[in-house]
C-alpha cells in the first residue's frame, strides 16, 4: 500500500519496492534519517515523502537527491488482548447499529491514518461501561461518512431496526455521521410506524480517537436512553452544551444541525426537545409517544426523485427546466419569509405542477411556519397547487415528500398524507418557546 503518494515520489517509492509502514533509511548530502514511511494526504505535492522518526515526529523530506533504502523491520505484531463482551441478561436488551461517521473513526497507530472503520463492537470495547447500562448486541450495517448516505440507506436502517426490535431489543442505538443525521432521523421517524421502543441516533463532533471526544458521553447517553427512556420515538442524542455534562434528545423530525463544529451543534427547531439526560436521569419535556403497545409497521419506501431548491434574489427561472424534463416527482421549495418566491419563477412552478410534480413550500427562516395567505404572491402559489409545509423544517419536508411519494401515487392521497402529522413533524400550534434552544 502506498496511500496518498503520486507522481514522482510514487515512482521513487515503487522503484525501491517500499510500502507505507516500512522502515526506511533516507539520506542526501545534508541529512540521514531512518524512520517509518507514512501515508500522505492526496492534496499534498509529489515532491516529498513522509517519515516518522523514532521520537514520534513526522517530517517531510524532499525527494530531490534523496536516496532511500528499505531496512529490515524489527517490529513484531502483538495482537491486542482478546475482548470479552459482557453479557448481563437482567439488563434491558439494546442493539447498537453502526453506520460510520466521526463517532466511528479510528486512528491506525502505526501510520497515523484516520479511517472510518470503528465498528459498533469496537465502540463497545472502548466504552466498556456500556455493559453496565444494557445487554448489548451490535451490528455493522454501513461504514460511510454521512454526506454519502442515500435514501436507500434509510430503508436498510429501518429494516435493521425492525429486525432488532423483533429479536427483543428494548431500544436501538444507531451511530451515524452528524452531517446528515437529521435527515436520517426524519426518514426513520416516517418509516418506523407504530414504533414500540426508542430509536436513538447518536454521533460525535470530535472523533473517538481523541481523548476529548464527545463520543464516549454521547454513546453512553444513547444506550442509557435506548434502555430506559419512557418514549418510543426516533430521537437524536448529542451534547446539550459545550460541557461534558448534559445531553439532549431531539425529536427526529424537529432536529437540525445548526453549527459546523460545536459539540452542541444540534438543536430542536419549532419544538421542545424530547428529553434531557443528565446525572443518570432522563427528564422529558412535554408530550411524547409512550413505549410499548402495538406492532411495528415498516413503511421504508422512499422516492428518490425529489429535489430541494432554495429561493434567493436573482434565482434563474430556468433551473426548474431540467427538473421538469428529467421527470422528477417532487420539489421542495425553500422560500423566503412566510413562504414566498420571486414572481419570475411562477411560470416554471405552474409548469412543474401541470407536469405532475408535487411542489411543497417550506421556509428558509427555519423558525416559524409558512403562511401563504398574507401576501398575494403566496396566495397565487397556493392557487397553482403548491402545498404549504406548515412549521416543518425544509429538510424534514424533503424527507417527508420522498416518503409520501414512496407510499402513494394518487395526487389527492399525496396532498392528504403530506399535510397530516405523521411523526411530530407538524403542529397546529406554534408554542411560545422561551427556553434556551437545547
Amino acid at each position: 500500500m502506498v496511500s496518498g503518494y503520486k507522481g514522482k515520489v510514487l515512482e521513487l517509492i515503487k522503484k525501491h519496492g517500499l510500502e507505507v509502514g516500512d522502515r526506511v533509511l533516507a539520506k542526501n548530502e545534508r541529512i540521514s534519517f531512518s524512520g517509518i514511511l507514512m501515508p500522505r494526504s492526496e492534496l499534498d505535492d509529489d515532491q516529498h515523502l513522509i517519515l516518522k522518526l523514532d521520537d514520534g515526529y513526522n517530517i517531510g523530506l524532499s525527494i530531490e537527491g534523496l536516496v532511500v533504502q528499505k531496512l529490515p523491520s524489527e517490529e513484531s505484531k502483538i495482537s491486542p488482548p482478546p475482548f470479552e463482551a459482557k453479557s448481563n441478561p437482567s439488563l434491558p436488551k439494546v442493539s447498537i447499529i453502526s453506520t460510520g461517521g466521526t463517532i466511528a473513526s479510528k486512528v491506525d497507530y502505526r501510520t497515523g491514518a484516520v479511517s472510518p472503520a470503528l465498528s459498533a463492537r469496537d465502540l463497545y470495547q472502548s466504552v466498556p461501561e456500556l455493559g453496565d447500562l444494557a445487554d448489548i448486541r451490535t451490528e455493522i450495517l454501513l461504514s460511510v461518512l454521512s454526506e454519502n448516505i442515500v435514501p436507500e440507506n434509510w430503508g436498510s436502517m429501518a429494516r435493521s431496526v425492525s429486525n432488532h426490535i423483533k429479536d427483543g431489543a428494548k431500544g436501538v442505538v444507531i451511530t451515524h455521521g452528524t452531517d446528515t443525521m437529521g435527515y436520517t432521523a426524519a426518514a426513520l421517524s416516517f418509516a418506523l410506524s407504530n414504533l414500540p421502543v426508542p430509536v436513538i441516533l447518536v454521533g460525535s463532533q470530535r472523533s473517538s480517537d481523541r481523548p476529548s471526544s464527545d463520543a464516549y458521553l454521547n454513546l453512553k447517553g444513547a444506550v442509557f436512553a435506548a434502555a430506559r427512556a419512557p418514549f418510543a420515538e426516533v430521537g437524536v442524542l448529542m451534547h446539550g452544551g459545550s460541557s461534558d455534562s448534559s445531553l439532549v434528545v431531539h425529536r427526529g423530525t424537529r432536529v437540525r444541525k445548526l453549527h459546523t463544529s460545536r459539540r452542541d451543534a444540534f438543536a430542536s427547531v419549532n419544538a421542545l426537545p424530547l428529553a434531557r439526560v443528565q446525572d443518570g436521569k432522563i427528564e422529558t419535556y412535554g408530550g411524547y409517544r409512550r413505549r410499548g403497545g402495538g406492532e411495528l409497521e415498516l413503511k421504508a419506501n422512499f422516492e428518490e426523485d425529489v429535489v430541494l431548491i432554495k429561493s434567493f434574489p436573482g434565482v434563474p427561472p430556468d433551473i426548474f427546466d431540467p427538473v421538469i424534463h428529467r421527470g422528477f416527482r417532487g420539489i421542495v421549495l425553500e422560500g423566503t419569509g412566510l413562504g414566498h418566491l420571486p414572481e419570475s419563477l411562477f411560470p416554471s412552478i405552474r409548469r412543474a405542477i401541470q407536469s405532475g410534480l408535487t411542489v411543497v413550500m417550506a421556509s428558509q427562516c427555519l423558525y416559524g411556519r409558512v403562511n401563504m395567505n398574507v401576501y398575494s404572491t403566496g396566495r397565487e402559489l397556493l392557487n397553482m397547487g403548491v402545498i404549504p409545509a406548515g412549521d416543518m423544517l425544509p429538510e424534514t419536508a424533503l424527507v417527508k415528500l420522498m416518503w409520501v411519494l414512496g407510499q402513494t401515487d394518487e395526487p389527492e392521497k399525496i396532498r392528504e398524507l403530506f399535510l397530516k402529522n405523521i411523526a411530530g413533524e407538524l403542529s397546529e400550534r406554534s408554542d411560545f418557546i422561551d427556553v434556551e434552544r437545547g
Binding site: 541529512i31 516529498h48 514520534g56 523530506l61 488482548p81 481523548p211 471526544s213 464516549y216 463544529s261 460545536r262
Partner: protein, 649 residues
C-alpha cells in the same frame, strides 16, 4: 566528538563520599514563548489576563487505547485520577479553537518564520516539509487531550568555549492552558495561554556540569532574544533538564524558570543519584529483597493515640494501615539531597498516587504525638525487628492502601538504583517526584492542519534577514551611536532595542537620550509600579519627538508617561493639558519673553551677553516643564537681538 569529561564536584554538599568519578550527562530543553500577535492555530491574541473569566465549561478526558491494546503509563496515571477539568475563558480573547469546539486554523506562518530564524542562528537544518503532530497529554492542560507540535529543524550546534554542544531538535508547539487551581475532584485551567506559540529547543546530552548547563542556557536565551520576537517576563521561558550519571537513570526535571537555579538543580540531582546508588549498595550488603505489598490494618494499636493526624483521621472514619519494609531500618533517614531524606521520596509517591497528606515511618518516630509505646505495639503487630522499617498512614482505608502500595513500589525500586521519573523542583533547587516518565511519546498526525513546504525562497529570506546577535549589536551601538558600554548593553538586552534603533534612525533623535529614556526613565517608572507596558510604541515615539522639537521639556517626560500609563487610550495632548504642560501657545510665550526683555533693557544694554543667564532663570521659573530650555534660550536671544538692532527706530 564530545569526550565525557569527568565531573569534579565543586562545592557539592558532599553527602556521597566515595572515590568513583561519575560521568554526568545533562541535556537542556528550553521552551520559549514567541511574541506573535496571534496564536499558533487561531486568530486569538496572545495575552494572559487576570480579571474574572467570562465563562467556564466542564470537560473530561479519556485515554485512548493503542492498537496494541496498551495505554501510556503516564496517560494511565492521569486517567486513574478521573478528574473533571474546568476551563475558563474570555469572550474576546478565547475562541472555539481553544475550547476544542472548532478545528485548528492553518499553522501561523509568522511563528514558522521565527522558528526558522532561530534554527538558522543555531546552525540547524530545517525539515523540507513541516507536519503538525498531536502529542497525547491528558493531564487536562490541553482541551483536546493532546498538544500540537511540529518538528522544524534538527542537528545544529553552538559552542561553549571549545566545546561543541549539539542542538538536537527545534519544535514549534502550542503552549498549554494555565493551571489556576487543583483539587482531587477538579482541576481548573485558564485558556488564555493555550495556543500561544512556543519553540522547544533540545540540546544533546553533551553538557557535563551544572555550570556548563547554566552557560548554555544563558547563551540559548540570548540567541532567542536576538530575534526580538520572544515574549518576556515570568513564565515565558521554561527549562527542563535531563540529568543522568553513570549507573544512574535519565531524570527529567520540569519547568526550571530561573537560570540561576540550573547549576544547583543539576548538582543536587547528581548528588541524589549518587546517594541512591550508595543506598542500593547498602541494601545489597544487608541482603535485602523486595518488600511485599502486604497492607496491615493497625488501627487498634493507635485507637487511643495522641497523634493529632491519627486522631483526626480516626474520628472521620479512617483507618491506620501499615506496611513492613524488612531490612530498611534506619535507611529512610538517609539524606539524598540537602534536607530531603529517602523517607520523603516514599512520602511523595504516597501523596501523588494515593492522594494522602503524608506518611509516618519508624525512622522518624517517636514524634508528632506518637509514643515509644505506640511504636512497640506497631512493631509487634507487623512482626518488625529493629532492622526493619514500618511505614503507616492514617486515612480512608482504600486511599491508604493505594498510598502504601506506592510506598512499597518505590522502596523496591531502591534495590535497582535510580528509577526514571519526572521531577519538579523546589525553590531551593532540590526536587520532588512528580510523575512516572512518559513512555515513548504517543504521537499521531494532526490531520486537520495541512503540511507546509519549507521552500528555498523562504529559507533565502530567513538567511538574508538574520538578526544580529546581541554581542555584535552592543558593539555596534557603542560605535555607531556613541552609547556608553553600560547603556549599550542595557538597551540591547531590553525589550526596546529594536524600537530604540527605529527611533534614532527614522526620527533623528539623540541616541543617548532615547536609550536613557528607555533604560532609566521607563525602568524608574516600572519600579514605581507604573504599568509601562501599557504605553504604546507610537506614544513613546511621539513624546520623544516632541522633546526633540522643543515642544515638551525633557524634564516632563517621566510625568507624561506616568499620566499616559494611568489614563489608557488618551492622547499626549490630553496629557500635557491635564498636567498643564506645553499648553503655552507660542503667542503667549513670545509676549512673555518680549515683556521680560522690555523690562530689563537697561541691564541688557549694560551687561550684554552676561544678562542672558539671569533672564533665562526668570523664564525657567515660569515655564519649567512646559517649554524646553533650548526653546526658551532661542526665543530670548532672538528677542534681545531684535530689540538691540531695532532700538534706534
Amino acid at each position: 566528538m564530545n569526550g565525557h569529561e569527568a565531573f569534579r564536584g565543586r562545592n557539592l554538599p558532599a553527602l556521597a563520599v566515595e572515590s568513583v568519578n561519575h560521568h554526568i550527562k545533562v541535556g537542556i530543553e528550553i521552551h520559549q514563548q514567541l511574541d506573535t500577535p496571534k496564536k499558533l492555530f487561531c486568530g486569538c491574541p496572545t495575552v494572559l489576563r487576570e480579571e474574572d473569566p467570562h465563562f467556564s465549561i466542564l470537560r473530561r478526558l479519556k485515554p485512548t487505547y493503542s492498537e496494541l491494546g496498551d495505554l501510556d503509563r503516564a496517560a494511565l496515571f492521569e486517567s486513574e485520577r478521573r478528574r473533571t477539568f474546568c476551563y475558563q475563558g474570555y469572550n474576546d480573547t478565547v475562541c472555539l479553537v481553544e475550547l476544542d469546539e472548532e478545528p485548528p486554523h492553518d499553522l501561523n506562518r509568522d511563528a514558522v518564520s521565527i522558528s526558522l530564524t532561530v534554527a538558522a542562528l543555531l546552525n540547524m537544518t530545517p525539515v523540507d516539509e513541516i507536519h503538525v503532530m498531536r502529542k497525547i497529554v491528558i493531564d487536562g492542560s490541553n482541551t483536546t487531550g493532546f498538544q500540537r507540535t511540529a518538528k522544524i529543524a534538527f542537528d545544529g550546534w553552538l559552542m561553549d568555549g571549545e566545546e561543541r554542544i549539539t542542538m538536537q531538535s527545534l519544535c514549534l508547539e502550542e503552549d498549554a492552558a494555565r493551571k489556576i487551581s487543583d483539587t482531587p475532584e477538579m482541576m481548573t485551567y485558564r485558556l488564555d495561554r493555550l495556543g500561544i506559540p512556543l519553540v522547544e529547543i533540545a540540546t544533546g546530552p553533551d553538557i557535563h556540569s551544572g555550570e556548563q548547563a547554566e552557560r548554555v542556557a544563558l547563551q540559548l536565551g540570548r540567541i532567542l532574544k536576538a530575534t526580538g520576537r520572544m515574549k518576556r517576563g515570568l513564565g515565558t521561558i521554561r527549562q527542563d533538564l535531563n540529568i543522568s550519571i553513570e549507573g544512574g537513570t535519565r531524570i527529567e526535571v520540569k519547568g526550571v524558570q530561573e537560570l540561576g537555579l540550573i547549576s544547583t538543580v543539576v548538582e543536587y540531582e547528581v548528588t541524589r543519584q549518587r546517594n541512591l546508588l550508595l543506598l542500593r549498595e547498602e541494601l545489597k550488603r544487608r541482603g535485602v529483597t523486595a518488600p511485599r505489598p502486604k497492607v496491615v490494618d493497625v488501627t487498634d494499636v493507635f485507637s487511643s493515640s495522641n497523634g493529632k493526624v491519627i486522631k483526626k483521621a480516626l474520628e472521620s472514619g479512617g483507618r491506620v494501615q501499615a506496611v513492613l519494609l524488612p531490612g530498611y531500618g534506619g535507611l529512610l533517614k538517609t539524606e539524598l539531597q540537602p534536607g530531603r531524606r529517602f523517607g520523603m521520596e516514599l512520602s511523595d509517591h504516597a501523596k501523588v498516587f494515593g492522594g494522602v497528606g503524608g506518611i509516618f515511618h519508624t525512622d522518624e518516630l517517636p514524634a508528632y504525638g506518637i509514643t515509644e509505646e505506640d511504636l512497640r505495639g506497631l512493631r509487634k503487630k507487623v512482626s518488625a525487628t529493629e532492622n526493619d522499617a514500618v511505614v503507616f498512614v492514617a486515612a480512608e482505608a482504600a486511599v491508604g492502601s493505594v498510598a502504601l502500595n506506592a510506598v512499597v513500589m518505590r522502596a523496591s525500586e531502591a534495590l535497582k538504583g535510580v528509577p526514571g521519573e519526572v521531577r519538579a523542583f523546589n525553590p531551593d533547587g532540590t526536587t520532588h517526584f512528580m510523575r512516572p516518565m512518559p513512555g515513548s511519546a504517543r504521537m499521531y498526525p494532526e490531520t486537520d492542519v495541512p503540511s507546509i513546504v519549507v521552500g528555498a525562497d523562504l529559507l533565502d529570506k530567513i538567511r538574508r534577514d538574520l538578526p544580529e546577535l546581541l554581542e555584535k549589536r552592543t558593539e555596534r551601538y557603542i560605535k555607531e551611536y556613541g552609547l556608553s558600554k553600560d547603556l549599550a548593553a542595557l538597551i540591547v538586552d531590553s525589550p526596546y532595542a529594536i524600537t530604540f534603533e527605529r527611533l534614532v534612525k527614522s526620527d533623528g533623535l539623540a541616541p543617548s537620550f532615547v536609550a536613557a529614556t528607555f533604560e532609566y526613565t521607563l525602568k524608574m517608572l516600572k519600579r514605581e509600579g507604573i504599568d509601562v507596558e501599557s504605553l504604546e510604541e507610537g506614544q513613546i515615539r511621539d513624546v520623544l519627538i516632541r522633546v526633540h522639537k522643543g515642544e515638551v521639556a525633557k524634564e516632563a517626560v517621566a510625568e507624561i508617561f506616568r499620566w499616559l500609563a494611568s489614563n489608557r487610550g488618551r492622547s499626549i495632548e490630553e496629557a500635557t493639558r491635564a498636567l498643564s504642560l506645553g499648553a503655552v501657545d507660542t503667542a503667549a510665550l513670545k509676549a512673555a519673553v518680549a515683556e521680560l526683555v522690555g523690562r530689563n533693557m537697561e541691564r541688557i544694554r549694560r551687561d550684554g551677553e552676561r544678562a542672558l543667564s539671569p533672564l533665562m532663570g526668570d523664564l525657567m521659573k515660569t515655564f519649567r516643564g512646559k517649554v524646553g530650555g533650548k526653546v526658551l534660550h532661542e526665543l530670548l536671544k532672538e528677542e534681545i537681538r531684535r530689540r538691540l538692532e531695532g532700538a534706534p527706530r
